[in-house]
Amino acid sequence: MKPIFSKTSPLGLRLFLAVTASIMLILTDGQTNTMIKVRSFMETAVGGLYYLANTPRTVLDNVSENLVDTGKLQIENKVLKEQLREKNADLLLLDQLKVENQRLRLLLNSPLRTDEYKKIGEILTAETDRYRQQVVINQGRQEGAYVGQPVIDEKGVVGQIISVGEKSSRVLLISDVTHSIPVQVLRNDVRVIASGSGRSDELTLDNVPRSVDIAKGDLLVTSGLGGRFPEGYPVAVVENVSRDGSNYFATVTAKPLASLERLRYVLLVWSHEEIHKYQASSPEDVRNTVQQRLANKERGVDTKKALVTEGNENSKENGEKDDIAIPENLPEMNSNDHQVSPEIQEHREED
């Protein structure tokens, strides 16, 4: 006999409850602060899954690393050393230019450019909703990541962090349909907004008047407007401009410079104020990580030497560089600058 007050409610009622709850969730997700907090809490709870799903790859990577043949490693080492030497030579010039730039800006009374602190993060998974362009990285609240933080790779802007868990966080790529980024044309400082199109190789520029001077091959860099992305990072190259007579606006598409489909390592950027915030919490930690990195064998002996020598140079120059940053932070900043590709450096020098 069926009890009148059975413990389980009938299926229809359950369905009704589930559907109502889902619709409520869809409508409120991301709208209020509480929901963002709840979501970040749950993100932490499921964070372990990403590491679990990533284990096969980590194991295979380790195996292949152990099986690499010595000859190949030696050649690679040689090439890397040469590259490092070249980059270091470029950096010498860059440092001088930076100081010169600061002085000129002081003369012009324009705001000083602040240095950024960068840190490498690794992609945990890119398997996300097919209607979204997102990746999950292995840097979370513990490492100082925050919602809205810009993320770049060695070629250009990748996106920004939209939710942070304890040990992992989610990055919205610039190619997502819900993402837009303020940019300017490097050649003539025309300001536009680049929105994602849902495809990883295309951005569209919104509301560009037909008469605007923008051409195929123009480099788009972040304009720093909106205050999210620091100024001057390359974003995309204009690929196609069509000025249709029947339309008031030109249809412009651009190709992102960052390899959004093949992301493996990304750089998280802390702008100047955030460095202070981050350091205020734990200056010891930062020093420790610097020392850890110096001792880190993965970086190779040569890098270690380079870092140390750079550190010395910086301490010499510190007298002039008071306004830039805290000395103990400098070696790391410069070491991360190694990631910058030659083209970008050219552009920076043009700046």
Binding site: T8, L11, G12, R14, L15, A18, V19, A21, S22, I23, M24, L25, I26, D29, G30, R39, M42, E43, V46, L49, Y50, L52, A53, N54, P56, R57, T125, A126, E127, T128, D129, R130, Y131, R132, Q134, V136, R170, V177, T178, G198, E261
Partner: protein, 162 residues
């Protein structure tokens, strides 16, 4: 008896964790649409096997976790999965009496309908384009059904759930 019950719950949770991990496991980027829907496959089996314990509630919770893990708006997959679970649990007697290949045919249709449902919800929230190659993913899920069914039945027997 209590220990046994605990074991069964842990076993079930472990199976669903495996499904979620498979769902976010790396997959070649050109073949995204060919990816089988592991979670739907495993959820369907357990609804058919234990229609009174695993049904709409489980599907809803699982859908929310799925949303969290793949980063879509909370509730999208929860909504579609709970509707799906309702129909499977409602007609579980008819469905479980069908032969394996008939079930796998229905599975293909079900997965396709679920993916289309997710697309409709996404389109309601913001613009989205349906990828017709998703049919292949549905076909592959259906083709995997007999093996999945037999494997999961073995797991269920080991746990003493059938």
């Amino acid at each position: 008896m209590n220990g046994r019950f605990l074991l069964q719950v842990i076993g079930l949770v472990a199976v669903f964790v495996v499904a979620l991990v498979l769902e976010i496991a790396p997959w070649p980027s050109g073949f995204q649409s060919f990816k089988p829907s592991w979670l739907i496959l495993i959820l369907t089996y357990w609804i058919l096997a234990l229609p009174t314990t695993v049904n709409v509630g489980t599907a809803f919770v699982l859908g929310i976790i799925w949303d969290l893990v793949i980063g879509s708006i909370l509730g999208v997959h929860g909504l579609v999965l709970s509707v799906f679970a309702y129909f499977v649990a409602r007609y579980h007697q008819i469905l479980s009496n069908l032969s394996l290949w008939q079930q796998s045919l229905l599975m293909m249709i079900a997965v396709f309908v679920i993916r289309f449902g997710i697309f409709l919800v996404e389109m309601f929230i913001h613009s989205a384009v349906f990828d017709w190659k998703d049919i292949f993913g549905a076909l592959i899920t259906g083709a995997l059904w007999p093996w999945g069914f037999l494997l999961l039945r073995k797991v269920g027997r080991r746990l003493g759930l059938n």
